[in-house]
């Protein structure tokens, strides 16, 4: 008898394990796959192209982790942190640990939900592998950055910070939004919109940046995690295709989710834009270049042309995203600079070489609109002060970012949008966020908006020091980089005369 092909063997070892229940109603076993309105007629059409089984999963994952932990151990033993390009670089990694690592963990928990509740063995197995992959990502990130925590500020209390600190409610609410959605919306949100459309924007340029700034462990965990991510992206694309092929009634539902989750994911990547253009002392690629390559060329250029076959059009408001690529990173980082007294990372005015790079990379916008702000900030610093926004910002009800984004087509005017629901006013940063709210106001009125919570007295007390204490922010974590603990330690650890 002929040997089983990889495909037959995979089917025998995964979906063929399912059986039809006789003693209980299968709707009770899988209660969550109908309320969203998605219609599935034939799960056998589901294709998992990776066809990975448990034995090969363990074999390759163990090998990946052996390689990674060998790098981590040798970096720690050789005091590798001293060979970073500059301590300032680590601000990006603080934001990463506080903002991204908890999302990996959340993904772990909720892919477990899919691994239990999708009513077919094929996609459940893909979700099962992804669930423990995501745990791997959270843990390898923690272990990589744990070494920096021993020598630098801002890394020490990241789980508490993720639950409490204002700028971290941006990624947290994003993922809470996905987890609290039904299973097919979660797949569309995370596997497709976040991982397939945008994850490359987060990881690839960023990990190259880590490598370029002397952070070998981060580069290693990043690339190692990305190799799992390729499987996850495949799950995302396959899910979308499958849903669209199963029933024409699924198309408008999926389109609505793509519209919503493109914008929701894109807004989260605004933090990445600020990190790429300003927090990496040595630049690899600008936000604009990365956006053009990984989003405009790849996703708009080919993916959405392919999806047009199913009647799917590009996400709503994608034009607004493309239009603001010249502005996004500058507006975001200026905001982080303005509020870094209340952050668990430090910021500083870009040095002259960086200003020059920004000017050349963003010829349309930087010198005209953003360089003047940095010049003012530098003047204020020279006068012995430091520019901070001495108050709390108005937040967008949906993305929870301070309302810093400007009107489409007018980069000098802040965009203000509003909706009324049950007699209460709600504010939004953009048409994208407003339309998300207007479709599901019952969901978004529950948002735990950090500024409003502070004013309700739920965040440790009314004064800034009380709130910072409640956030777990310690002296040296926040405010200006130059003269900070990290900066002074770094200088004392290195021989200044050799500069």
């Amino acid at each position: 008898m002929a040997k089983l092909s990889m495909k037959e063997r995979y089917a025998a070892l995964t979906r063929d394990l399912d059986w039809d229940f006789d003693y209980v109603d299968s709707k009770e076993v899988f209660p969550y796959t109908t309320f969203e309105g998605i219609k599935i007629h034939d799960w056998s059409k589901w294709e998992d192209p990776f066809r990975l089984t448990v034995d090969s999963y363990f074999k390759y994952q163990a090998e990946k982790d052996r390689r990674l932990y060998a790098v981590l151990d040798s970096f720690a033993q050789s005091q590798g942190h001293l060979s970073l390009h500059e301590a300032r670089y680590l601000n990006a990694m603080k934001l990463f640990l506080q903002g991204v690592t908890p999302l990996e963990y959340a993904a772990h928990r909720h892919f477990a939900f899919l691994a239990r509740f999708l009513d077919s063995g094929g996609p459940r197995f893909a979700a099962l592998c992804q669930s423990i992959d995501e745990l791997r990502h959270a843990q390898t990130e923690i272990h990589t950055l744990s070494n920096y925590n021993k020598y630098y500020s801002g890394f020490h209390s990241w789980p508490k910070m993720h639950d409490r600190v204002w700028y971290l409610s941006v990624p947290k609410s994003f993922f809470d939004d996905a987890i609290s959605s039904g299973p097919f919306e979660f797949l569309t949100a995370i596997s497709f919109s976040f991982e397939y459309l945008l994850t490359n924007l987060l990881f690839v340029p960023f990990m190259s940046g880590a490598s370029f700034n002397g952070d070998l462990p981060t580069m290693t965990f990043g690339f190692s995690a990305q190799s799992d991510e390729s499987r996850h992206m495949t799950l995302g694309l396959e899910s979308i295709r499958f849903l669209l092929e199963q029933d024409p009634d699924n198309v408008p539902i999926v389109q609505g989710w793509i519209d919503k989750w493109f914008w929701r994911s894109y807004r989260v990547t605004a933090l990445v834009a600020g990190m790429m253009d300003y927090m990496l002392p040595r630049k690899v690629m600008s936000w604009k270049e990365a956006f053009e390559l990984y989003f405009e060329e790849q996703m708009m250029g080919s993916l959405f042309k392919d999806l047009a076959y199913y009647g799917i059009r590009p996400p709503a408001h994608v034009g607004d995203a493309i239009a603001e690529k010249e502005h996004l990173s500058h507006q975001v980082y200026w905001t982080l600079y303005s509020f870094s007294f209340a952050a668990a990372f430090t910021t500083t005015v870009p040095d002259p070489a960086e200003l020059e790079w920004l000017s050349q990379t963003y010829p349309e916008s930087f010198d005209k609109l953003y360089r003047p702000r940095w010049e003012r900030a530098a003047e204020i610093t020279e006068g012995g002060g430091r520019f901070f926004f001495q108050g709390l910002p108005q937040l967008c009800q949906v993305c929870q970012i301070p309302m810093l984004f400007t009107e489409p087509g007018d980069p000098t005017t802040i965009c203000q949008r509003h909706s009324n629901f049950n007699g209460e006013n709600f504010d939004f940063c953009s048409d994208g966020c407003k339309s998300i709210f207007d479709k599901e106001p019952e969901k978004y009125i529950q948002a735990w908006l950090p500024v409003h919570q502070i004013f309700q007295g739920n965040c440790g007390g009314p004064s800034v020091p009380e709130v910072l204490d409640w956030y777990g922010i310690q002296e040296g974590d926040n405010a200006e980089y130059l003269g900070s603990k990290d900066n002074l330690n770094w200088l004392s650890w290195h021989d200044d005369s050799a500069k």
Binding site: G37, W334, P393, F426, D438
Partner: protein, 106 residues
């Protein structure tokens, strides 16, 4: 279009007016100030006088920018409608409600 949930899905707003007692949230936007990345949000008594609101909250915040001059603040609007506030009038009597947007230029 309401949210699609598996069962009744109805929760209160976590920013609703009653959570602030006699106070309310007021957003203040300095429209033509590139140094100020966003509008600010304050908690202020509904019965606070306009002049006290400016002196205690708006001006100290706007002074984050050392170039701010209170005397040049003009073109006041509340929720997009121009108004010329009487300094002694209360926020409530001026039509400033919970989460209203007060704006000015300078």
């Amino acid at each position: 279009m309401p949210v699609k949930a598996i069962s009744n899905y109805s929760f209160e707003s976590r920013s609703r007016a009653e959570l602030y007692g006699d106070d309310q949230l007021v957003n203040v936007w300095w429209v033509n100030a590139p140094m100020m990345c966003a509008a600010a949000c304050f908690r202020a008594p509904r019965e606070m006088a306009w002049s006290d609101f400016l002196a205690a909250m708006v001006y100290p915040w706007a002074s984050s920018d050392p170039g701010f001059e209170a005397s040049r603040a003009s073109s006041w609007q509340v929720d997009g409608v121009g108004f010329s506030p009487d300094p002694s009038a209360t926020l409530a009597s001026l039509g400033v409600r919970h989460k209203s947007l007060v704006s000015f230029k300078s």
